[in-house]
Symmetry: C2
Subunit: 94 residues, 2 copies
DNA sequence: ATTACTATGTATAAACA
DNA sequence: TTGTTTATACATAGTAA
């Protein structure tokens, strides 16, 4: 999206990579905010730059998102493998 | 981006909201992937729809992202409040 | 490291299949 | 509802400051 079409591969030049990172990071954060508002969704976005710096956005709070994520993954586990909800002893004697 | 300009506020009509959610969710996931590749960044994106369904993307793994996030936040704490790295007892007698 | 410009590529709103 | 179409709005690559 710009003066020329680009191929999606790692940008070798570190200055260009940094500039692109800044621009696209702003863009994706904007998109994340819009999605949360327009669609009434809870959104959490974590980005570590190649230099290791953390950037984050959460429509609620990151703690809320991560906690909810953990609970949702547990539920997925239960759906995928219903027996796992039984305690170890219960399974032994099932 | 489309036939008409829109205001960023919750979409009342639930069918429209769902359609917009699908389209924009695809869009933001694509952006997240591109950012990770182009800029050599580690990216984690978690989205809960208004119906509570989880959608996720991580350039590495979500566990890696969340763990790294936790460590980065700890570091931020230490930078913001250097004394907190001292143990409680040490602080008492500082 | 940001910011500005702007031509061009992309995402998507609305409509409809 | 789930996918096309397409006109339009938006994001951004290249560049310079």
């Amino acid at each position: 999206m710009g003066r020329g079409k680009i191929v999606i591969r790692r940008i070798d030049n570190s200055t260009s990579r940094q500039v692109t990172f800044s621009k696209r990071r702003n863009g994706i954060f904007k998109k994340a905010k819009e999605l949360g508002i327009l669609c009434d969704a809870e959104v959490g976005l974590v980005i570590f730059s190649s230099t290791g710096r953390l950037y984050e956005y959460a429509s609620s709070s990151m703690k809320s998102v991560i906690d909810r994520y953990g609970r949702a993954k547990e539920e997925q586990q239960l759906v995928a493998n219903p027996n796992s909800e039984l305690k170890y002893e219960a399974k032994l004697f099932k």
